[in-house]
Amino acid sequence: MPKHLIRVGRRRVLQWVGTTACASALPTFTFGCGASPPAQTGYFSDTDAAVLNALADAIIPPDDAPGGSQLGVVNYISTLLTAFDSDPPLIYAGGPNSGREAIPSGTGAPSGTFPPDDFATFLPLDRFQTQAWQLRIFGSSGVKGGGPNDAITGPVIGLRDAVATAISAGAALMPPGVAAADLTQAQKQTMLGGIDRTTLSTLMDLVLEAAFTAPEYGGNPNLAGWQMCNFEGDSQPVGYSWFDPSTGTYTEDPNHPVSTPNPYPDPMPVDATTDAFIGMVISALGGKTFS
């Protein structure tokens, strides 16, 4: 069972309420009031956002768990593509804590107090990082002097251009007269198939990053991507092992132990289809299957 669901679920609900109260224009974000949120900037038109959502669903299909469109892909990409609209740029979330886990008590176990969300305060870049991320987002054509080795490697294609290319290619295969909300999964897959290999790889990078990384970057709303994968997410500052200085001993989180099996049933065992796929891959790698 996802750690945040059973340990901090109530706190998370309270935080959502608080966030919404202080920034009602940002209902899909999970930031504290004092943070500088990677807000929706309107980078994408509604039409482009709809296409992007369809493409995201083609990569992570919605079923009983969220699909790509529900995992904040549009917002994540928008945040990244407009990262330099903020100072510091929204590239490196801060640290050390996200505020999702408690501060240790004197015994090392969770106290009732939570640290601030340091992730929400983004960190400064040095001159190398600044140049690198401007190149990555705007491309050689959007940065004075271009990349240092354009003459050898060719110009850097910026993420803005790559995403625009993906949207354009996807839109070209969107069935005429069908509203984005009415697209079938098969139609979304067809749209995805219209994207060239290099651009598709970039798009997949972005979709997966949106789904599975810290929500301060703009995706993974309400930790939906982590919960879908039964992944506990960040665990500092309390962690999984609690050291009590007065006794000099560790106690492990009883719900999420380090040294022993999980105390709860497997939330999603490997099914026959997945097992067969893994067996095929292992065989192709020349590996072994043990009875």
Binding site: P96, F128, G147, M268, T289
Partner: protein, 569 residues
Amino acid sequence: MTTSTILGNTSLTTFDVIVIGSGAGGGTAAYVLTQAGLKVLVLEAGMNRFDGLDDPSALPTPRFSNDELKMGYRNFITPDPIVEPRTFRASASDGDRTYIGDVQSLPKTVGGGAAHADLKMPRFMAQDFTLGTDLQNTFGANFADWPVTYEMLEPFYAFGERGLGVQGLAGANPFESPRSGPFPMPPGVPMYVSQLAAIGLGSLGYTAFPYPMAVNSQVYDGRPACVDCGYCSGYGCPNNAKGSPAVTFLRKALLSGNCMLVTQTRAIALTANAAGNTITGVNCLDPQGQPITYTADRYVLACSPIEDARLLLLSDKGGPGLGNSSGVLGRNLMFHLQTTAVGIFPQRVHGHRGKTVSTGFADFRGVPNDPNHPLGGIVELSGSEFLLDEANYYRQIFGVFGFNAQLLKNLMRQSPGRDRVLAIAMQAEDAPQLTNQVDLDPAVVDIDGLPVPRITYANSQFELSASAFYGPKILDFMGASGAKYAALGPASMPGSDHIMGTLRMGMDPTTSVCDPTGRFHDIGNLYCADGALFPTSSGFNPTMTIVALSLWVAGGMVSPGNPEAVLWQ
């Protein structure tokens, strides 16, 4: 949040020693030198991500976090290959290069490469220091004896373990060489997946032991105990439980009053006198990219083997490199050959909780010239990575079998590639070869217009045969541990971020760059204090030996002929 790029005693204007690099080698050297009263300037090309590192009143606040995107994908502390690439080729016959991008780039940040490591800290074995005598030119390699022995380094190992705070259990590794005392701390909490592996190992007659690591298992030296957050290998420590050089030796140097650390300041060339036997200064670019020169009486290189060699080559444009009368500067570049494997268990083994690796075994380290026990290395029994890495593993597989979106989602949720994984890495001896080297790429540059390092590297039959010997045995113990599936990982070249050689130390100035004290044969006031000195790579993680060797070198600078004296000052 710290914005100053200058830390420590900012009033210092003249220096006895300049140390280039603030990692395991440089931070340790700075500590020894400053404790002896020398005024030291440490130059670091990267940023400081420890707020309050020079504040004596409280522990620093690291800006590291449990953030896979920042640490693993956005180059938070590692050089970004889009502006600082390296190039690669397997041999000179491949042409100028076959690849441009990241080639084993270590972090560029205060604390150096050790900032991102999980700080596994085994010592080398006594036999590892005499492979020149034992193996000579086996498989055409260029083995050499170290000019120091394990016995000579043992007090420095012990001191380094105390300084960083290394946990472990003396005697648990039946192959370890004699120790003068116990580890400073007992082992911490073992990981479940490692316990499963230990059962399998035991059934096959191998001996698992708690992996020595510079991670607190108790409150130590004012720093807290590890909480097993899981984000260890590849991640800076968010709570200072990891004994990173930044929060141990370097911080103590900064608090001594004798040290100034200048960050975001990149050394681009050493200047020398006309004879080339004395360094006169270090030309740098400051945080804004503007030129600035620093001078001192003596200089210590500690910016990792590849960047050490690059700096010496950049300092002698068109020439063979400063300090290269031997012709071996940049050569004998070594990485450990990693034989990797994954075992997939039916049950979830939650390898994301813990210190990435909590257990290892050394039965595969081997014995020189014993065909039944070829020289491999220590084996790390580790947990898994995180979601982005998992998703990208599946993408690689889909690259062969075709993309299937629903299957990708099911894989992520059922997690055979993460939450059920035991991952193995054997860190095996990499035979030194003269043809494995660092030089300057003839055309590819970084954003400052400086030529980037070119790595020319291919494995020899020595390590490839050892990998072939031990690979099947690794698969066997996966099965004995309860895995349902197991497979060896694909060979990659180079395979590890353990980087050694390029400035070999030795007695003979015609075959080595530095002498047994770490001083350049050719240059009287220039030293090296990192893994570049290693004549051979051993089969154990190198950082503990980098620290011991840095203590040795800096000790010799302070107390010539009696480096051990600094351990008791």
